[in-house]
């Protein structure tokens, strides 16, 4: 038996639709509309300049981005680097977030203070975080360089070889976002009844066994949320790289490459180039497809796992 429909019949039934309309309109104008426009732009040579003539190019931008010359191979390298970035950020951020949440879920002194400290970076802007860490990693007398100096080592840190700089940016990305991961895990941990843990201990389960067989399965919804947020967030991340490294060879991820193409920035060209927003839109669509495939696959696997564990 269905419950009575609260908005009555006939014209009254329009009320929910009317109430949803402003939100839908905003969503269409600010999110869905621009996304669809990006797909259309990706088939043109739009520069993004008002008054600039725009021609329909068909698949040319995609061919150039994916297949034309060495540039396409460089783009493939960027794609691989984006996946590496996403993988490392997701795994480390989720693991550290879980570890810290479990530690801060204990009845210890000053846990609230520690929760605040770990969450604090989340409220800072990307630019502030980037500049702060740039100072921290300053290779001529910065704090990290001084610590290295105690061991007789010298490093350019952020300014050094791309792989090394890339690892530093990954670390900062994790540091900046781990607070959210921790809070979601903490919320999940606090929904687990203390009696369950207590009874497992009475039954002789060790702390690790209790965590593995009770806490971890019950944290599945939080874990899935965190993994989804981390995967999508890290695949789209680029602002921190821009602030900390700029547009340079060897450290670009796809999001940064899209920005560089669309807004006339290119590595090692002080003069700048013309904006290519049509070409940048094609690169955006490639990133969208990447996020979609990885995001959907991860969602499918995580839900299957959740169903298997929680029933």
């Amino acid at each position: 038996m269905y419950a009575a429909y609260h908005f009555g019949s006939r014209r009254s039934r329009l009320i929910p639709t009317l109430l949803l309309l402003p939100g839908m309109l905003l969503y269409f104008c600010l999110s869905l509309g621009p996304s669809l426009a990006t797909v259309v732009y990706s088939f043109t040579d739009a520069s993004g300049l008002v008054g600039s003539p725009t021609k329909w190019l068909g698949l040319s931008n995609y061919k150039e981005f994916l297949f034309l010359g060495q540039n396409a191979r460089d783009n493939f390298e960027v794609l691989v680097r984006t996946l590496e970035f996403s993988f490392l950020v997701t795994v480390i951020q989720t693991s550290f977030g879980l570890l810290i949440a479990v530690l801060l879920n204990q009845r210890l002194k000053a846990t609230n203070a520690f929760r605040t400290i770990f969450f604090l970076p989340v409220i800072l802007g990307v630019t502030i975080i980037g500049l702060m860490w740039t100072l921290f990693l300053y290779p001529l007398g910065g704090p990290v360089e001084k610590i290295l100096g105690l061991f007789g080592a010298q490093s350019e840190l952020l300014g050094g070889p791309p792989f090394q700089a890339f690892l530093w940016v990954i670390w900062v990305q994790i540091w900046a976002n781990m607070g959210i991961t921790m809070i979601i895990f903490l919320a999940g941990l606090q929904t687990i009844p203390a009696e369950l843990i207590e009874s497992s201990r009475i039954d002789g389960a060790s702390g690790w066994q209790g965590f593995r067989h009770i806490t971890y399965p019950l944290l599945m919804p939080s874990l899935n949320t965190n993994l989804t947020l981390a995967i999508i967030g890290s695949l789209q991340a680029w602002q921190l790289l821009l602030v900390m490294k700029g547009v340079t060879n060897g450290t670009q991820v796809l999001g940064l490459t899209i920005y560089a193409i669309a807004f006339g920035r290119v590595s090692n060209n002080p003069t700048g180039i013309a904006m290519r927003q049509g070409y940048g839109a094609a690169a955006s669509v490639v990133l969208f497809v990447l996020v979609l495939i990885i995001g959907m696959t991860a969602q499918y696997l995580m839900r299957r796992r959740e169903r298997r564990i929680l029933g």
Binding site: S47, G48, G69, Q70, R73, E156, G160, S267, G272
Partner: protein, 428 residues
């Protein structure tokens, strides 16, 4: 009585704006790039301008030079800028360049976003050649270029050179020996603003110039395949760039911002500073007592190859075609172009003037004077990338460790040529 007062106030409120209509106020939005002497001068000049034209206010936005092209394009599109500092028109497409992207200034002109300045009377104050070479397109003038800078030279601390008995090097071997002398005496041989990337690129341009004094011929040769990034002569250039990055520039330079490097040199922390002549005022300002000079980077062991300076047309003014403040913008440009104001600008920024009546009377002016007759446009101003080229296809000293990943000059030379070939072949 009360009602009458209210009516009087209302009438006054209506009349006063009408009375001041004859002197409508305007606010010019000015966009310039970060260069301390330029910013200081523009702020002082604007004050003078506003004293003369009290109804005009000038708002200045300053961006990093690597972001200038992006800001220019986005702000012109948003129509919230009136006058923009644009580097002299460069990277124009030559007839032998196929399937290359247009430079940003050409895109802006074709989109109708830059004002045609051809008829403006203040253009007469400038060299016709500078107006033609650095600010014209299809017979119309779109930019007032205000001067040139050399970027293939090296600043040097004369006192340190004298203290350690080092003479100004005229060959590569002498430069290597000079660097060794300073390092043995615990003084960094060179500093550079490695954090911004491009200053190390620019530092290597002198080596490129020594290898190819005719930079236009180099560009044509690379496009046509008669010159290769990995031929024997050019591999030597890469090897020298590696020495520059690895052994000459001080460790930790990757953390030094472009605008902090002149201060380190001025403080005597490094004996030399390979950079553009635009840094001379910043050096002099950081340490007015510093005794410094500027010599062409000796990238070759043949002194005759090292007698040149190359550079670029730098600050130029373009005006947004859709500006609502055309009169005010033209007043600003005319006032800037007055010979007395322009001379003050040259004095403050150390730019090599494009007005025939102005003189560069600074220390740097005397240092570069012998090279002006043979001054040439640098590679950066002439090179245009073919579509599909790879990321290493450019002569960049910052590709080497410790700034990037390469530690074998030959391998980088091969990669650079492969990356260029990929672009050239992709367009055939």
């Amino acid at each position: 009585m009360k009602r009458r007062s209210v009516i009087i106030v209302l009438v006054l409120l209506l009349i006063l704006p009408a009375l001041s209509f004859g002197q409508a106020s305007a606010t010019i939005e000015l966009l310039i790039h970060q260069n301390a002497p330029l910013v200081d001068y523009i702020n002082a000049f604007n004050q003078k301008f506003q004293d003369k034209y009290p109804n005009v206010t000038v708002n200045v936005s300053v961006v990093n030079s690597s972001e200038l092209a992006t800001s220019t394009q986005t702000r012109l599109t948003a129509n919230d800028v009136d006058i923009i500092d644009m580097f002299g028109f460069a990277q124009g497409i030559q007839p032998y360049m196929k399937n290359a992207d247009k430079p940003n200034w050409q895109t802006l002109i074709e989109a109708g976003l830059l004002m045609d300045l051809t008829a403006q009377p203040f253009l007469k104050n400038y060299d016709a050649s500078a107006i033609k070479d650095a600010g014209s397109f299809n017979g119309k003038v779109y930019e007032v270029n205000t001067g040139r800078y050399a970027f293939t030279g090296v600043f040097y601390n004369k006192d340190l050179f004298s203290r350690y008995g080092v003479k100004v090097p005229t060959t590569w071997s002498q430069l290597v020996a000079a660097c060794d002398t300073f390092k043995k005496n615990k003084i960094s041989a060179m500093t550079a603003g490695g954090k911004d990337g491009w200053p190390v690129l620019v530092a290597g341009y002198g080596i490129l110039l020594s290898a190819y004094p005719d930079q236009a011929a180099l560009v044509k040769g690379l496009w046509s395949g008669t010159i290769k990034w990995n031929d024997a002569k050019t591999v030597g250039m890469w090897q020298k760039m590696q020495v520059l990055a690895k052994d000459m520039i001080e460790p930790g330079a990757s953390g030094i911002a472009f605008d902090a490097a002149p201060g380190r040199f001025a403080a005597g922390l490094a004996a030399m500073y390979p950079a553009g002549s635009w840094d001379a005022p910043a050096i002099a300002s950081a340490n007015p007592k510093l005794n410094f000079g500027y010599f062409p980077m000796p990238g070759s062991d043949n002194p005759n190859d090292n007698k040149f300076l190359a550079g670029k047309y730098d600050v130029g003014w373009v005006v947004a075609a859709k500006t609502g403040n055309k009169d005010a913008a033209m007043k600003w440009l005319a006032f800037f172009s007055q010979p007395d104001n322009y001379q003050a600008y040259v004095n403050a920024t150390g730019i090599m003037p494009t007005q025939p009546t102005a003189k560069l009377n600074t220390t740097l002016g005397k240092e570069v004077a012998p090279y002006l007759a043979n001054f040439r446009l640098g590679y950066e101003l002439l090179w245009v990338n073919p579509k599909g080229f790879g990321q290493w296809a450019m002569p960049n000293a910052s590709f080497f460790k410790p700034f990037n990943q390469w530690d074998d000059a030959k391998k980088l030379a091969d990669q650079a040529q492969a990356d260029l070939d990929a672009g050239l072949k992709a367009n055939q």
